[in-house]
Symmetry: C2
Subunit: 332 residues, 2 copies
Amino acid sequence: MVTMGDVARLAGVSKMTVSNVVNNRDGVSDLVRQRVLDAIERSGYRVNLSARTLRSGRTGVIGLAVPEIDLPYFSHLAELVIGAARRRGYHVTLERTGAVAAGEAGALAHSRLLQFDGLILSAVALDGLDERLTDAGHPIVMLGEQDFGGRFDHVAMPNEDGVRAATLHLADQGCRRIGIVTGAPRDGVNVITRRYHGYLAALAERGLAADPPLLLPLNDMTMEAGRAAAHRLADAGHEVDGLVAVTDTVATGVLRGLADRGLRVPGDVRLVGFDDVPQSRFLVPSLSSVAPDHRWMAEKAVELLVERIRAPHRPTGAYVAPFELVVRESTR
Amino acid sequence: MVTMGDVARLAGVSKMTVSNVVNNRDGVSDLVRQRVLDAIERSGYRVNLSARTLRSGRTGVIGLAVPEIDLPYFSHLAELVIGAARRRGYHVTLERTGAVAAGEAGALAHSRLLQFDGLILSAVALDGLDERLTDAGHPIVMLGEQDFGGRFDHVAMPNEDGVRAATLHLADQGCRRIGIVTGAPRDGVNVITRRYHGYLAALAERGLAADPPLLLPLNDMTMEAGRAAAHRLADAGHEVDGLVAVTDTVATGVLRGLADRGLRVPGDVRLVGFDDVPQSRFLVPSLSSVAPDHRWMAEKAVELLVERIRAPHRPTGAYVAPFELVVRESTR
DNA sequence: TTGTATGCGTTATCAG
DNA sequence: CTGATAACGCATACAA
């Protein structure tokens, strides 16, 4: 391995001068700088990041932990976070938590172990009371889901308002029997309860009833689960003319499940999703969806993390992403 | 930061003994070991990976560079690679190349810079002749696309055979005017030319003509591009009863584009994709697709990389993934 | 079974 | 403007 020492000898200067050139510091004459650059070129020298990290205490890497990488919503978000981080001089390591508390706690431990400068955690299982989060001092930004009671910087989805807007939209399109396909209710303030509350709020506003059979809980938020829920709904024969799906992924499954049972969208049932993932506009019928500003979220999360890395003791902030309701064929 | 020295002082032993305990080496009495473990517990000590890396020369991290993270095919593959690597004790860092040669070369440089133990590169732009790949010595496995003339370990997609099977299937379903929606032809042996050859081979086998208007080249492999191609095809009024799309992502767009023009799948046109991404079975109509064994590919790539890390001078190997043709509604 | 000395490649400090 | 020296935290070799 070529070291700074080798380059220094080759250029006839000290290691320190090489270091100064490599790090683009000034205080090096143009002549010497050029000699050093030549020596680097000739020798094929590369800085050793481990040594630099050992010395400087920072790695320039931030972690991004998401439940699943192959859910379109998260891969899309990851793409945006990577871009935002890169613009600020950071590299991003993606980690998968599997949407379980152990995985999320593990991502945090791992982030510290590998000495990432900070972690953006898209937590869906841990909540603000979890003791595994007590281990402070590591810069963390929470992204998107749970409520953490102000313990962390937090960029949230417009869960309640988004679903409320979606439900109101269905009502305004004439739907009177509106169901919701969402996760199994859990205690605490989380994405499921928030979205459910948004649904209830909208129904109340329009004077519609929340009929229990129209609440379709899922064990996991997959296309398969959405499809199965649509089958259950159709087979039970309940009257329904509008459906809110908790995510576009679930909505994709619901769309398929309704087609399996010969129900037409939007003819028989209108359907609206949440996330506005890229493929939603290409589905047949194209899917109406609550579209949080993902780019804004990614930028905000990275910005918050970078600030916290710089100033670990700033007070935390909580932000909710703006959104718009994108109306497409599935509700027209 | 708590260091080994701190733990040693707390436990009343030397740093070396702490190191031995941390690395599970024997030669430490149970009594002392327990005292050290207690001290670690109390102090909240964590090993410093950078320091360890500096000494040992390995990071335990491998890079995975893919064109885009938010294309379902790649996110799905990434998920599988992460799992395969984890089972072998490696962590995976995802990198995005943007499907351009500079990005792919950059990923390689970056992998060396950050001292990943190795890199799995899903290259679509670089080819075996590119000088930026001359920089040897870093363990690399090429995944999925280009031809590298035996310079690297290589796990390839069944490009030619897969498209051939898809095209034969269309012919066997009675299609006589079969088109292909694929990338713009480029020189050299690459995924585009290979898949195109598979298409031509199948047509020849069935005695069908390759009609130039039925070759629909795309500038990029997106849903949007697929949709636009379908529009072009429909608007030109060429007779067509079967279409091979170069990826499921493109096929999703084609499906949508045909729907825009009132063409029914499979009634008017049968359509088959390539990759069998998770959402393909949920589309309406569900999409027939060439399904390479992605899990096999991920396992093979990681296995090859780990072997190369261990034995840098082994001869390289090239493997082609097995596949099956999954027949769904779009061709029935 | 445990401790001491040394060095990995880099950067901070301070002297020249 | 440039260089000498001393760390950073850990692990290897060897001594006790």
